[in-house]
Symmetry: C2
């Protein structure tokens, strides 16, 4: 039975019922009211930091309701069973609900213009047709004049003939705009059809037979795992942390600390995936709607929802420990999702450190702890890892896999040229391609993936500053000779004082290192203790900042942002993303240019990559990992893995 042991624990089934009952008893829930979002309202950070197991726990929830097309926000005090705040949203919207999408989808499917357009394409049996109204990413459509309107758009798919999935069954050239309030179709645009894509058939293959000669690899923990979980507190090696499974963000790490000489030292108050942004790059108007800000648009735990059950032996080792999630349905009732996260140790056969010396080899093997979830957003699957190392390093990782988003094109063989759907042969500067033919008639459209991680590092406490150590050329003043070295590089420590100065990009020619340094604690040799945010392979958005998708997901313009801690700033593209117009999110907040020195600060790190698909990405993509590290820098007095045992 899930219960609350700590102020940052996930909402429990009992609490979901209390939220429901409290809102209903105060008159806010009617027959058709939909619970679009029910999230833990985090308590005051100071209170959490001062909290001890004896302290009472006050619990609140942030709730977004949708009632006859109108959106309302509420703060429900669970402990006192009172509604603290209830107000209608103005120009902001609840995330789209499955209920609406189903109702509007049916209305669209039966619109005479859609029926006519389908008929033109030879589709008269609507039984296997589905029309998908997408949460309208605002792009100033004529139908999007009034911010109060709840507009959807999208296309249809016909799965007749499909064998194990309908991801390649888009009906080409068809585009609609619909009103989610009135459930009316406002516009149908028919840009003409192309021949239907031959059915890919299967998204899987019989997988029983290993290649000849394949011998088993057995990984076992016969004595069980090395971690313990005591009332939600995970202890593994020197690490101590908590996590909750959040219906919007997935796993939220909290109060991450590390034991160092008998003292528990703070590293990160909270760390979580804050937002995702996946803009497709096809010029057709039908594809304007393929700009997904998945975290805020699709975070609901039902339907397309983010985190999904894991399979032991495929997603995680079979000896892993699995965790359920407790979420809410649109009717406000709670439900349990099994196997939503797994926690496991692993050894990869790698050394923690080693050195060959004339006298022999010094070295130690290593193991790591992995907390894993998978977010499936429609076709795509993202494996999200938080990995804890024995060297004090936390690695964040995203593994992208799943199914490509494709559109039908007439092409079956590009060696004779490409259709206008696939390429612009007359583009200024030479031909360009918008996607890749992964199967005959199947165009996998170019796109990006951006992930914003909100990292509330508190290095030895909340009072930190941000350091950007720049590597710069340095002319050696003492060398007046014509021989020797004249120019080297040196490290120039800089401390950005405000949010504007702390917008960080990556340049190989002008590298910099990013650290959160403690304002009060000095480490060995007098350096301030710090943790570095070390970028891995990543990318930045290539769209102009005045394009609508880019305005709405402005976080993708920089690799790192730093803000002062502000409890309402949790989501990099804003709280209400469906239909948003770029008025919320880290790119907006940082315009205030607040001070970030010697205060509680938060980092927003962007993992990004561009995807120009290849044939091998079809019909299921081999996983591709992107990682970043949060690593100690003058935090310990030496390599913390120096005294590991000789067994991993």
């Amino acid at each position: 039975m899930p219960s609350v042991h700590h102020p940052l624990d996930a909402l429990t089934p009992q609490e979901y019922w209390t939220i429901y009952q409290t809102l209903r008893s105060e008159g806010h829930v009617h027959e058709k009211t939909l619970f679009a979002s029910v999230l833990l309202h985090e308590p005051d950070k100071q209170a959490v930091l001062q909290w001890t197991p004896d302290s009472p726990i006050d619990r609140k929830a942030d709730v977004v309701l949708l009632d006859e097309g109108k959106s309302y926000a509420a703060i429900v005090d669970i402990t006192s069973k009172k509604v603290d705040d209830f107000h209608a949203l103005k120009g902001e919207h609840a995330p789209y609900t499955d209920t609406e999408e189903h109702e509007v989808g049916e209305a669209i499917k039966h619109d005479p213009r859609i029926i006519e357009a389908l008929k033109k394409r030879g589709i008269t049996d609507l039984r296997h047709v589905e029309c998908y109204p997408e949460p309208a990413g605002y792009i100033a459509l004529p139908e999007q004049k009034d911010p109060e309107d709840r507009i959807a758009w999208g296309g249809c798919a016909d799965s007749e003939g499909a064998i194990s999935g309908s991801w390649d069954r888009e009906v080409s050239g068809l585009f609609f705009v619909a009103d989610m309030k009135t459930k009316k179709v406002l516009r149908v645009s028919d840009f003409g059809s192309v021949p239907r894509t031959p059915t890919t058939g299967i998204y899987d293959e019989v997988g029983g037979e290993a290649l000849p000669g394949t011998k088993p690899i057995t990984v076992m923990q016969t004595e069980g795992p090395s971690f313990t979980i005591d009332k939600g507190l995970v202890s593994w090696q020197n690490w101590r942390f908590r996590f909750r499974l959040d219906p919007r963000q997935g796993p939220v790490l909290s109060t991450v600390g590390i034991e160092d000489n008998g003292k528990l030292r703070s590293v990160m108050y909270e760390g979580a995936l804050s937002e995702m942004y996946v803009p497709y790059q096809d010029p057709e108007e039908t594809w304007n709607s393929h700009v997904f800000i998945d975290g805020g648009e699709y975070f609901m735990n039902t339907g397309l929802g983010l985190i999904k059950p894991l399979i032991a032996g495929v997603d995680c080792p079979d000896y892993a420990t699995f965790f359920s999630g407790f979420f809410y349905k649109e009717d406000g009732s709670p439900f349990e999702r099994p196997q939503l996260a797994c926690l496991f140790e692993r050894t990869k056969g790698d050394p923690a450190w080693r050195h060959s010396d004339p006298n022999g080899v010094f070295g130690r093997p290593t193991r790591e702890l992995v907390l894993r979830t998978v977010a499936t957003v429609g076709n795509y699957d993202y494996v999200l890892d938080w990995r804890f190392g024995q060297d004090g390093v936390i690695t964040g990782a995203v593994g992208a896999t799943g199914i490509l988003e494709v559109k039908p094109v007439s092409d079956t063989d590009v060696s004779k040229g490409m259709s206008d759907g696939l390429a612009d042969k007359n583009a200024p500067g030479g031909p360009v391609e918008f996607g890749h033919l992964v199967a005959p008639g199947t165009d996998a459209v170019n796109h990006d993936h951006f992930f914003s991680f909100r990292l509330d590092l508190d290095v030895d406490g909340p009072k930190n500053s941000f350091m950007a150590d720049k590597l710069v050329q340095y002319k050696i003043p003492s060398n007046k000779t014509d021989y020797g070295r004249h120019v080297i590089w040196a490290m120039k420590p800089t401390m950005p004082m405000t949010e504007s100065e702390a917008k960080m990009d990556i340049s190989l020619q002008h590298p910099s290192m990013w650290r959160f340094v403690s304002s009060d604690t000095k480490g060995p040799q007098g350096y301030p203790t710090s943790y570095e945010i070390m970028a891995g392979q990543t990318g930045t958005s290539l769209l102009p900042s005045d394009e609508w998708p880019q305005k709405r997901a402005g976080f993708s313009e920089h690799q790192l942002w730093v803000t002062p801690y502000e409890p309402t700033e949790r989501f990099a593209a804003g709280t209400y993303v469906s239909g948003s117009r770029g008025t919320d999110g880290v790119a907006i907040w940082t315009k205030k240019n607040r001070s970030i020195m010697d205060t509680d600060i938060v980092a927003w790190y962007t993992v990004g990559f561009h995807h120009t698909p290849r044939t091998e990405d079809w019909p299921q993509m081999p996983i591709m990992w992107h990682e970043f590290q949060i690593r100690p820098f003058d935090f310990f007095t030496k390599n913390p893995a120096l005294d590991l045992p000789m067994k991993p």
Copy 2:
């Protein structure tokens, strides 16, 4: 007993003796002649490609001899026991030998100026003093006028009082230049001393005790590995490849192919680490010599030599298969080094691919094959991996660990400021730092690591071209409205025709993808088959290209170079690196600007990173990995891992 099964196999002990005897019988080996380099002279590529197990194998070796300070190059025909070519090197030098370094080191130690300088520092007992003449990276020193001269330089260390290593025992402010031919000290510069660094003590700690609660993780292959090795041919899953352990380059992969529907298809003719470059960034003249081009300067298999024995259970899992290397000594005799490489399979508990669907989860677990060696170059250790995936991907990886190179400084606590040795407080633009105090008085100097991988990809045969697919902004011409999307990005395929056009840098704002495409073979949907070289996290050199170290290791200026295949072009900083003046190597060859279209081409990929040390890197660095991928792009007809079994 090692024997020759294939033209690219490593030299055997019998062959080393034949080489020795052949050179001696033709009068080239005298009492003091040193064998500075003995490497397989690779046979003609066409002959290798046409070779079958019935064909005779002609074997040759490239030999560099050092005789009374003069360097000679020879090609020895092992099969016919004849010297094909023998000539004195002009302005180029054999790599420095242990014999010379020891003799010159002793001479330096007993030079009156050195004795005097040591005395000034309170060092009168020379028993534990060692002076290290480094291979002179040319920097136009007054002593380096004549290219025929064999000049060394360096400093001394006093290990008195050291407990388990002398890496922090440098004698400060002392610098010498010596003539390796005459074994004379040409110059002693004394820039003054700083107090000696307190002894770090140990480079290790008792590692017997796991933290309380640590439970074993057991990884076993009770039925043995899934790979077979038949006369040097490694077969694992669909992969087929060979490798030799080369005294200069370490593991050299060759004839790497993959079985696809019963057909063996070529991916890479040869892949190996071609060069390493580690420039330190300290302004002191004493540190001018700390610019290492390790591959060419230190590749000898004795002494500081590159690859070193591995420990089972630390460097590789204990179930790994280990391989000896057969190398040569300076007297020309062969010797065996045990456990120089390991080969093992592993499963990390990760999926090969997966997708959550309303019907359930599709997915498969994966395993990989790792070929691992460790190169220890003095203080640093590089774990070098070639990893083969079930998805057709080869990953190259470098894990940097070992001990930092440090210099003594007077500082013990930087909170009161830093000495001139550690920082320039008056640098234009603000203070800069040259290193980091990792222990009292111990300055770990800033530096870079660059690795050049020579990747002779032959995608479906040797005839390939190079594609750089650029991502560019694209204005949608059809959108004349004020709503919708106006600018997207698109992929612009470009085919660099010559070496100049194929010098590739990484820019997040202007990304490009790099591929080797087959000239003759079309893949599915009519695209040419190809393999992509996908960069991982990497860095570029920050030094001006007219600085001497940079001229000598010019490969570090770009992330990728492409050259037409030329058998003599094997080493990215040239064949003869000791004392080189930047007249050889990929930065020089590519000035010819040869055609790289529809021909046999070679990629030179640079892995680079800057290292500003932190306290946690002392006294042994936690390993830091950098990776890149060689991955199929339209090579297969679909995801080649689709039909994996449900067990890893």
